[in-house]
């Protein structure tokens, strides 16, 4: 479920995360120490993780190469789904 801001755009979205119990405890500890909510810490961690991948040059280079070489296939798959 997502909530909307005044502009009608998605502001937050409820997610279910299955965490290793130890990791969940660690997350709760971090949140408590920093005086923040568990959701806030988890959200920041996910955003940072995604951002890290986004900036990984080797990862991106491979991705760009794969997408460029298979553009026709991806276009066909798009057609199949529509």
């Amino acid at each position: 479920m997502s909530s909307l801001n005044e502009a009608g755009k998605v502001r937050t979205k409820n997610m279910v995360l299955r965490l290793d119990p130890d990791l969940a405890d660690l997350l709760a500890t971090v949140a408590e120490v920093e005086g923040r909510s568990v959701s806030d810490v988890a959200r920041e961690a996910i955003a940072a993780l995604v951002e890290g991948r986004r900036k990984d040059k080797r990862f991106r280079r491979m991705l760009e190469d794969n997408l460029a070489r298979h553009q026709r296939l991806l276009d066909l798959l798009q057609d199949e789904q529509t």
Binding site: S2, V10, K13, M15, V16, L17, R18, D20, D22, L23, L26, L27, T29, V30, V33, E34, V41, E44, A45, I46, A48, L49, V50, E51, G52, R53, R54, K55, D56, R58, F59, R60, M62, L63, E64, D65, N66, L67, R69, H70, R72, L73, L74, L76, L77, Q78, E80, Q81
Partner: protein, 288 residues
């Protein structure tokens, strides 16, 4: 073996769909993504297992693609993201894939997603299309520029130390049985066929449109076509996928060149003129 995680999927999906990572996060089913990645990990018997060769790499990539197709973490563009993720997974593990011709690759993806093709069987097609490249040791090491609070990277490291799930004995046995079943199948050559209409156009099948109405929608028409085929002597004719592809598996024992099949097809094309079913012979589907 370098495996993908949810963050990787987010970046791959964002680039493939041409949207921001925030947008992907907003629409991604995280639960489904985790399930898909966990299923793909089942292919690996233990943490750090290396891909032993081309066939192993092909199967590992296809297992991931199939898992993403089945669990559908991305309701839209699911096939595209699944393929892009599979390609990226192979690249990260030192394999360059060239999925050509694209039209055949589409059939393979459809068949994987519909369950008509196992990863083992599809690997027969993919293996020759893989080229070994220099392996880049890609480890997602947190960088100082992340600006991540100190405790959180620790959590990430801990998460990555969690051992991969072991394959339950029953699942392992099932995998072996699947492999054995697939080994008897030679998957070669794609033949998308759509038979010509016969001139006399008998409406003999008009009353056998079955449970599905031929005129309600393209999907209904396709299903009605399948019903018609089934009632015209091809009882095991497969129901087409959402995109109208009917994959005839070798085990079905359907001879697409037989008079009975061609007669049924001609009749049913006339009974359901709006059907757009593409019939793919899986036994010859993958050699192109």
């Amino acid at each position: 073996m370098t495996r993908l995680d949810v963050a990787d999927l987010v970046v791959i999906a964002a680039r493939t769909m041409g949207v921001s990572t925030e947008s992907v996060l907003a629409q991604m089913d995280v639960d489904a993504a985790q399930d898909a990645l966990a299923e793909a990990r089942l292919f690996v018997q233990g943490p750090g297992k290396a891909i032993r060769g081309r066939a192993d790499a092909a199967k590992a990539g296809l297992v991931l693609i199939r898992a993403l197709l089945w669990h559908r973490p991305f309701p839209e563009h699911g096939q595209q993201v699944a393929v892009a993720a599979g390609l990226q997974f192979l690249s990260l593990n030192g394999w360059r894939a060239d999925l050509n011709p694209a039209s055949t690759a589409v059939v393979v993806v459809e068949a994987l997603g519909s369950g008509h093709l196992t990863p083992d069987a599809a690997a027969v097609w993919l293996s020759p299309r893989l080229t070994r490249v220099r392996r880049l040791a890609l480890v997602h090491v947190p960088r100082p520029s992340f600006g991540l609070p100190r405790p959180v990277p620790a959590a990430r490291v801990r998460a990555r130390r969690v051992p991969a799930r072991r394959v339950p004995a029953r699942r392992a046995l099932a995998s072996v049985l699947l492999a054995i079943a697939a080994s008897g199948v030679t998957l070669l050559a794609a033949a998308c066929s759509r038979g010509p209409f016969m001139a006399d156009g008998s409406a003999a099948g008009a009353s056998v449109a079955g449970q599905h109405q031929a005129t309600a929608s393209p999907r209904s028409a396709d299903l009605a076509y399948a019903d018609c085929m089934r009632s015209h002597g091809i009882p095991d004719f497969p129901y087409p996928s959402a995109s109208g592809v009917a994959i005839v598996a070798p085990a079905a024992g359907i001879d697409l060149s037989s008079v009975q099949f061609r007669t049924a097809e001609t009749t049913c094309r006339q009974v359901t003129p709006t059907a757009t079913v593409r019939i793919v012979d899986a036994s010859t589907a993958l050699s192109r």
